[in-house]
Structures are given as structure tokens and as C-alpha cells.
């Protein structure tokens, strides 16, 4: 934080210099000098932000005797995959992957179907209660998790949904809805109604117009929304921890907690396991990040 805290000083210095410089010629060299200062600060901020990620990967790859050392070095002396071996051999790794995949995919598929229907209604129709629905969808995202967790736990308990995949799936499915609806609606609004109407004039039914015209145009938006939903279901741990009791039904995030026992934490294996879990998320995130930017700017251009 110290790096960023020093920026105002640098900025106001630059301010004085640039503001007082009268003739245009004097301005250029000054600007170059301040650019160098900004670059150095920028580099420091980059290092601070990236360092934990670097430390994750480097700790996963370094030999265990370096992990259990009072003299931590910034570079590993050698690279080994022992930590990954221990992480993969940790009990329940395979069942955890299975649980995570079942829960996340089922929740996302169901969530996208429901969200697309609602987004079509909100984006295409002007019905009574439309604004209220949007507001509710935004507001429910702000509720504290424990306010939901306790009653859901009690309810699933009476319905026999504890320790069952479907309980978790329903929770994840609904929790993807608010942002998925808002996001898909953004894409729906950008598809001209005239396209749909001309398809209907040419003899398509409304369903046909949707299938042949709207859906293909909506596909990139749906892909982006589902990846976001997938990443979130993949990352969730609190509900998974409370609602699932059996070791073999734990999701990957809860499984990650098993590296910490009373005898301490196996940090090498924990970092390796964390890397394995984070890797697909980072890759997916990079993909969506681009799509998101494209979606946002196209939305902005069309005003």
C-alpha cells in the first residue's frame, strides 16, 4: 500500500510542474520525466498485486525442505512436482472433482435456461412489475450470506436435502440467476426487434424466430454468463461446507481444507492443490474477460 500512498505526492509535484510551465516547449521534457516516475510506481503496484499469485505457483513447485525452512527465498533452488503428487494422492481428490463438476454444471445449465427466459421477458416486453423484478434481483445479491444460510439449512434438514447434491444445486442455481438475468438482458436489448419481426413476417412462428434469429445472436452472451456462473459455483465453499457432511461429497474447495489438520498445514501440497483448482478458473476468466469487454463496449456504442 505504501507505493500507492506515495502517488498523491508524485502527482501534485507533476501538477505544479506542468501547470506552471508556460511555453509549450518546456512542457515536453518534464512530461517525460514524470512519465518515468509513474512507470516506476506502476511497476511497484504490479509487483504487489502479482506477488501472491507468484508465491502460490512458486511454493507449489519448490521442494518440501524449502517450504519447511526458516529462511524463505524468493526463488526456488530447484523445481519439483512432489507437492502436486501429494495433493493428488490426498484422499477424496477424485470424488471432490466429481462433486464440484456435478453441482456446478447442473446449477449452471438450469440457471441459464431460467435466466434466459426471464431476460427475454425483461428485455423484450414492457409488463407491469418489470422494474420491480429487476430491483428485487439486484437487492437479493446484497443480502448477507448467513441470513440465507441458517433458514436454508433448517429447511433442507426437514426436506431431507442435507448432504444431497440437489440441495446444493438448487442453491447455486438460484444464486446465479440475478447476475445472469441482468447480463443476458444486456445482450437481448442489443438485438433489434426488427430482426425477429422480419423473421415472423417471413413465416416463422415466435418460437422459430427465437430459435433461428435470436438464439444465435444471444449465444456469445450466454457463453459468457455461463462461464461466470460456472466460476462462481466452482469457487463457492460456505454453503458446500455447511450443507454437505460426507467426505466423499465435499466439493474441491472444502476438500482443500483437509490439508490443515491438528498437526499443522502441509503448505506445499495446499499450494499445489490450490494451483490445480485455480488453473481452470483463471483460464476461463481470461476468456470471459475479453468477451465481457466486447459485450460492454458494444452495449455502450449502441447507446
Amino acid at each position: 500500500m505504501s507505493a500507492s500512498a506515495s502517488t498523491p505526492v508524485a502527482k501534485s509535484d507533476a501538477a505544479g510542474v506542468r501547470g506552471d510551465a508556460g511555453p509549450q516547449q518546456v512542457l515536453r521534457p518534464d512530461r517525460k520525466k514524470t512519465r518515468l516516475g509513474y512507470n516506476i510506481i506502476g511497476l511497484v503496484v504490479t509487483v504487489i498485486m502479482a506477488f501472491p499469485v507468484y508465491w502460490l505457483v512458486i511454493s507449489a513447485l519448490r521442494p518440501n525442505h524449502e517450504i519447511r525452512s526458516y529462511d524463505q527465498t524468493l526463488w526456488p533452488s530447484s523445481i519439483t512436482f512432489d507437492n502436486f503428487k501429494r495433493a493428488v494422492n490426498q484422499p477424496n481428490f477424485d470424488t471432490a472433482i466429481q462433486s464440484s463438476l456435478i453441482v456446478a454444471i447442473a446449477a449452471v445449465v438450469g440457471g441459464m435456461v431460467i435466466a434466459t427466459l426471464a431476460a427475454l421477458a425483461i428485455g423484450r416486453f414492457n409488463f407491469f412489475g418489470r422494474k420491480a423484478l429487476l430491483m428485487v434481483l439486484i437487492l437479493v445479491q446484497l443480502l448477507p450470506p448467513t441470513a440465507m444460510l441458517i433458514p436454508i439449512y433448517a429447511q433442507l434438514n426437514t426436506m431431507g436435502g442435507l448432504n444431497e447434491y440437489w440441495g446444493l444445486i438448487v442453491v447455486y442455481l438460484v444464486s446465479t440467476l440475478p447476475f445472469a438475468v441482468v447480463m443476458i438482458r444486456g445482450f437481448v436489448v442489443n438485438i433489434p426487434v426488427e430482426l425477429e419481426e422480419s423473421a415472423m413476417v417471413d413465416g416463422c412462428t415466435r418460437m422459430g424466430a427465437f430459435r433461428r434469429v435470436v438464439f444465435p445472436l444471444l449465444a456469445p452472451g450466454l457463453a459468457a454468463a455461463s462461464i461466470f456462473a460456472l466460476v462462481n459455483a466452482w469457487n463457492e465453499y460456505l454453503f458446500a461446507y455447511v450443507l454437505m457432511n460426507d467426505n466423499d461429497k465435499y466439493t474441491l474447495n472444502v476438500w482443500l481444507m483437509t490439508f490443515t489438520t491438528e498437526r499443522g498445514t502441509d503448505f506445499g501440497a495446499l499450494m499445489a492443490g490450490s494451483t490445480l483448482i485455480a488453473l481452470p478458473v483463471v483460464v476461463f476468466f481470461m476468456i470471459v474477460q475479453k468477451k465481457m469487454a466486447a459485450g460492454l463496449t458494444s452495449g455502450a456504442v449502441k447507446g
Partner: protein
Amino acid sequence: MHPTVQCDKRKVSHVSAADTTQATGTGVPAQRATEEPGHVPVKSSPGGTRRGARKYKKGALLPYLLILPAIIAVAAVYAYPLVKTVIMSFQDMGRRELWTGQDPPWVGFEQFTNILGDSEFWMVTARTVLFMTVCVVITMAAGLLIALLMQRVSTWIRLALTAALVAAWSLPLLVATSIFRWLADSDYGLINTLIAKVVGEDFLGHNWFLDPWQGFAIISALVIWGALPFVVITLYAALTQVPKDLEEAAQLDGANAFGVYRFVTWPVIKPVFVMVTTLSVIWDFNCFGQIWLLRGSKPEPEYETLGLYSFSKAFESTSFSQGTAIALITVLLLSGVAVYYLRQLIKTGEVE
């Protein structure tokens, strides 16, 4: 999405990340807010805010059929639990009622009078507010400065910084927390190694979490580090909407850099800044995962914020009604902020 509500974006991040989810919700206003005619003279097409699409005729049944599944789902997982939270707060539900399925007895306002009369509750509330304030102030100040910095650095530094931000953003909450737990480990943590190099060997083995102030310093560092990517990227997107010619005109008229910022840049980014701040307040107030996981799923009483306090009352002391009553008080405390957030959204035309 609420299970991944975290102090950051995933909230951003969970969610988690998390925190990433909300980013989509607010990324859009970030872009559109700056087009608000009140702030910048944007040449808007003669369609206005109603974006393009002509709507179908009003009063048809179809839209209601389309939103029906969503409404049922939201009612089941959000509305019903919220109602249930209220009901349970006026009952006394413990372990026995949970397992036997008996109807818990009604106790009126007893849970609330117990909680409000408990000095621990006020300690926890004060701690939560203090923690939230520190995190939000540092996050927003650092976020704004880094966003301004991004405009001024060379392209390759900007790309490197963006890559670092996106990488930090995409890490799952649990992974990010594990890294910080490892960095602050008392025996082999890097932080202790580095400090020991300066102050001497005695520092090795220092336990950061014995003293809650030091412990919360580590937690805040994690929360702020996790929240910065969303804040910086959103604010930077807003900054790119500031018209260059306006800034130049102000400079020609004799404004110094601060003047340009104060009178040209700030008015444009203000709506986005306010929105992100409001979200940060809510996320950091609801902060759960970072503290819970850094303290190995069993936080000491000195580390309890309102969310953890409610959780431990419900699941450790198995007094579910006390837990829901605390959660309800939290919801009431936050409702003012939430309403403010909603009004901002309406003002910027997001809820159209």
C-alpha cells in the same frame, strides 16, 4: 450471488470471487453511467435511454410465463428464507427443534432484547463497522490512485498491471486466503522471514493472529488486495470516458493538474465511484470468508464480525434463532445502504 458474497468483488471475487459476479452487474453501469447527459455532453442518438428495442404491446400473458420460473426460484431460495429468518427470530429454535421437527416456541422480542442487551453484540458491531470503514477507505483511495496511475504509465506497464489485476481477481477466495495464510504463517511464512532479516532472529515464530489488531491487519490486506482489481478496472473504464478535449481546454484555461481532476475528471467518474463505494461497503460489511478461513474455520471471539457472530451462534451454540435474529439486525443495518445503492442505479438509468 449470495453464497459467494465476499469482501471483494467476487465478490468480487469468490466468490468470491468472488467477487467477479457483481462485476458484471456493475460493469455495465460503469460504462453507461458516464453517458449520463447531466455530466458530460454526450451526443446521444434520438432514442434516448430506452435502448433501441420497441416493446411488444403491454398486458400480454407471455412475459409473465417467461419470468415465472425465475420468480419461483428466487422466492424459494431468497424470499422464503428471508421470511423464515424473520419468523425464526421471534421463536426459540435450538438443536432439539431442528432434529425432531417440532414447532419451536414463540418468544416474541426476547431474542432481540437478549442480543441488544449483550455487550458482546455491541463490541462485534463496532468491530464490524471499524473493519469495514478501514477496508473501504483504503480500497477506494488506493483504487482511485491506481486507476489514475494507469492512465499515466506506458502501455507495457499498463498491460502488465492489467494482467496482474485480472490474475488476482480470478483466484478463488479459498485459494487467495490459503496464500495469505501461508505468507503469514508463524513458522515458515515469508512475512516473518523478511521482517526477521531487518529486526533480527527473534521475530521468527511470531504469531500474527495472537493480537487481533495484527490479525485484522493481515485480514484487511487480503480483503483490500482481493477488492482492488474490481475497483481499479471499473474506475479505469470510467476514466477512459472522460473527454480528452475537455481536459485540454481546462489546461489551456490555466487549471493545474489537480484543478483538471477536480473540475473535469471527478464529475465524470463520480457516479461510478459512488456506486463502487456503496458496493464495497456492503461487501466488506458482510465479509465472512476471509476471516473464517484465515482463522481455520473456528474464529476466536475477538475475530467475530456480525456475519461470523451470527454463524457461530447458530451452528456452534446451536441457537438458530439467535443466529437469525443477528442476521436480521444486519439486514436492517444494511438496508439503508442498499436503498441508497438502488437509488443510484435508478438515477443512472440502470433499472430501465
